[in-house]
Amino acid sequence: MSSIDEPIPIEGVTYRQLEIEKKPLTPGYVPRDPALVPKANRAAVVNPVRTCMPFGAMFAGLGMHRGLPFVQGAQGCTTYVRYTFCRIFQEPASIANASFHEDAAVFGGRKNFTEGIRNLVVRYKPRVVTVVTTCSSEIIGDDMASFVKVAKKRLVSELGPEDGNRVRLVLVSTPSFAGSHVAGYDRASRAFLETLAADHSRPNNRVNIIPGMLMPGDVREIKHLLAEMGVAAHVLFDISDVFDTPLMPPQTLPYYPEGGTRVEEVEDMANSMATFALCPNEGGLGARYLEQKFEIPAFAGPVPVGVRNTDLFLERLARVTGREAPKTLRDERGRLLDFMADTLHHTMMKKVALFGDPDLVTGLTRFVCELGMEPVAVLSGTQTKTFAADIEGLTGEFGHTPAVFNGSDLFEFEETLKTMPVEVLIGNSKGADIARELRIPLVRTGLFVYDRVGYQKRPVVGYRGGERLLADLVNAILDSSYPEERTQQL
């Protein structure tokens, strides 16, 4: 059966044969109507850098052990999101749907909800169901709080009190027209803690971590930092073993990934020493809820990307827990610094543009400043109250004054970059076409990386994440900026 001794007789169609001709219309850039370039001047959003609020709530819900999101809306509301998860993580993503059809739109979604929850729970036996609302359920005015009560009652009467009460329903209200995926995750963090966390006045000597929409590799890296510090933690929405699972059949049916945060852990979060929402806009609501309700100190961001931010995270962790950072972490820090020193000629004064979700972009901006790069344009797809001031403040420390876009779209970003001498672009896969037009490399980071493999597996947070990022950056610069014979003798 070996193909070595017996070559394939003829080939199919290769991609090379499918190449097509470009028909140039103009030799140089023709600027688009400048009056319409700023997003503020337009009704149209062209090439958004954010998606819908339910996405964030589903992301969170899938981070629970035996957790299934249930989306009160039309089928596309789950199919598209599942599709996106599959593209990003190359993993299955199980999400249930109320299957809104015309009758639900007319008569409301109560029947779909109670029946749907029943069907889901009876067959799948989840531990926690994240109830996610959508544009449609919010517009038709579904009274979800009362639906949840009715559904729960039905479960208890059908399954008996033990099984019926075992499954927890957490309602997250996420009308898409009121915010982005960032807000969806943020709201989910509060909804879970409001619904599940309970004060037993028994300190658990742990800290709470709400990672935000970081990748499995990032959550693993955070756990590594905690383990090195000797700190035990509850991670809310721990997707690390949900969206990066081993291939180890046979599987038990229905298929659930092994990982995820357990309901008991969320309940116990009211007894922790402190809460760290690594991304302030993605989990900050949950951290602040615990602070107000149970007086648990809350730290919201900055995301521990780069040297200073990781230092800050560990300093706070040490202060809260009374533990000292071990030598192993000092070594990790030292290795990153060594790497930065070794590569500084490639990073210094390089002009860089960044886009993505507000928290990660803010962290990345500080890191590129630490590398001696010059951020010339920074964009957050989701508008936040602090983004502009945060970026201006931290870049000011390094003497830079980038153009800041708070809640803008990629069209404005791209047209602006065409007037700037940018050398590197940092952002998600949606920047690929821009990078090609500008003829600069794109270093892929953030939530929507689906056209390169492995991003989700390796961290960007922590000192080791910094090494990975720096390697990606410098390799991209080497690939694009120097003739080959130079790079062969670094």
Partner: protein, 482 residues
């Protein structure tokens, strides 16, 4: 009793009517194209997905505007691999062939105030701005979704106004996600509405109709071909080699004016017979233009398609020449793959007609289909499946995730042909999978495309990783499975 109850469906007996085992003497048509049971973990999408993602999405020279909050637009932005000979990026300069459908995602980004006060004005403004920003585009295609549909935004008058103010071509599809049971409804709605708009344009702007001197007796239009991973690059030369001239495609690599010219053909060739027979029917009725159905998947079916099309024009001989030439050229490769794949079993899960298209195709590789499932097939699809499947094949209509898991676990097929969402699930079960919706490394159509398909199947099935996954003796044998 050919209907079967899967173990996972014991608590949802309604699902029994959707699952059966084929029996040639006793053919059954399951309950299909009906509402999904809420909470059953459906794989279906929505009507908007059918209209925007499948039908309108491939049209390349139009600015695609989604009238909705940002999510619906974001998820349909350059997701599906319907390629075109237009570029998404140009380097410095502007191109004559820009793929607006993949390069730009335009959305009205409805916010709370638009939901409360209505969004029609915002839609109009968005469209006018986009035309100003992208003057090289031929026009716009607009879509409504749940949000704009539920609050009752009226898109027709907006379209008219855009047309009047700019003179551009305007198409639109009103297919809110919650209308209809699946994406199939969106195909239907978009077909009907686009046909109406094509008529209207032809009436108002007769200069866009193909002039008499440009017509040939062998003009055909390809309907329901979406150019997945460049299928058209394979199909078009075949049609040309039997003497046809392809006037336009609905809608793979299509320009807006191509659509206007669709009714000028002498014959329509329907490829996807689920999503586009509607418009072929309408054109037949309205323009007295006949159509034939054709499948370009697999050798036998491609042969048949060429013969059928050529036969319509009395050019059987040319078809025979092409068939003889191509099949002879293909034979060695076919033998090569057949030797490696013969006897292996397959489960197919696709949207609609590809199950019955591919039963034939897999037979040519001497593979055996043991289970099949369709997301949105209708009665006629199941009739065709029954005619081709043989006895004892498990068929599931609108399968949910649990049913697919059970199907894979109990049949353990050597290959699972499916879409992106299911392919990772199949892999967790240790079963080789292949994305057959938008392909792994296509094109898969026609003769040479068939070799690509066979190659991808071979690569999926024979990868050494499966031996390692399913290998029995490892040092971890004492470690208990959860």
């Amino acid at each position: 009793m050919p209907f079967v109850r899967l173990k996972c469906n014991e608590s949802i007996p309604e699902r029994d009517k959707h699952t059966y085992i084929t029996d040639c003497k006793n053919p059954l048509v399951p309950r299909c194209n009906v509402n999904t049971i809420p909470g059953d973990m459906t794989e279906r999408g929505c009507a908007f997905a059918g209209a925007r993602g499948v039908v309108g999405g491939p049209i390349t020279d139009a600015i695609q505007i989604v009238h909705a909050p940002v999510g619906c637009a974001y998820y349909t932005w350059a997701t599906r691999r319907h390629l075109s000979d237009q570029y998404a990026w140009s380097g410095p300069g502007r191109l004559d062939n820009v793929a607006f459908n993949r390069r730009y995602c335009v959305v009205t980004d409805m916010e709370e105030k638009d939901v409360v006060f209505g969004g029609s004005k915002k839609l109009l403004k968005t469209a006018l701005e986009s035309i100003k920003l992208f003057p090289e585009a031929a026009g716009v295609i607009m879509y409504t979704t749940c949000t704009s549909g539920l609050i009752g935004d009226d898109i027709g008058p907006v379209a008219k106004q855009i047309e009047q103010e700019t003179g551009r071509l305007v198409f639109f599809a009103e297919a809110p996600g919650c209308s209809g049971v699946s994406q199939s409804k969106g195909h239907h709605v978009a077909n009907r509405q686009l046909f109406g708009q094509i008529n209207e344009i032809r009436r108002k702007r007769p200069e866009l109709i193909t002039p008499e001197e440009e017509r040939t007796p062998y003009d055909i239009a390809l309907v329901g071909e979406y150019n997945m991973d460049w299928d058209l690059k394979v199909i078009l030369p075949l049609l040309e080699s039997i003497g046809m001239r392809v006037l336009g495609t609905f809608t793979g690599n299509a320009r807006m004016t191509d659509l206007v010219r669709l009714p000028d053909a002498k014959l329509n060739v329907v490829h996807c017979q689920r999503s586009a027979t509607y418009i072929a029917d309408l054109i037949k009725e309205g323009y007295d233009l006949p159509y034939v159905t054709a499948s370009f998947f697999g050798i036998q079916q491609t042969n048949k398609a060429l013969r059928r099309i050529a036969g319509h024009f009395g050019m059987e001989e040319r078809a025979e020449q092409v068939v003889a030439r191509e099949t002879a050229r293909l034979q060695p490769a076919l033998d090569w793959y057949r030797r490696r794949l013969a006897g292996k079993t397959v489960a197919i899960y696709v949207g609609g007609p590809r199950v019955w298209h591919w039963i034939k195709l897999l037979e040519e590789l001497e593979m055996r289909v043991v289970a099949g499932a369709c997301t949105f097939a209708h009665e006629d699809d199941y009739e065709k499946i029954n005619a081709r499947a043989g006895d004892g094949v498990l068929i599931i209509d609108n399968p949910n995730e649990f049913e697919l898991e059970e199907m894979l676990e109990s049949y353990r097929p050597d290959l699972f042909l499916c879409g992106l969402k299911e392919k990772y699930l199949g892999r967790k079960m240790g079963i080789p999978t292949l994305n057959s919706h938008s392909y792994e490394k296509g094109p898969y159509a026609g003769y040479v495309g068939f070799i690509n398909f066979a190659r991808d199947i071979h690569q999926a099935v024979s990868a050494p990783v499966w031996t390692l996954v399913n290998g029995k003796e490892t040092v971890f044998d004492h470690v208990e499975h959860r």
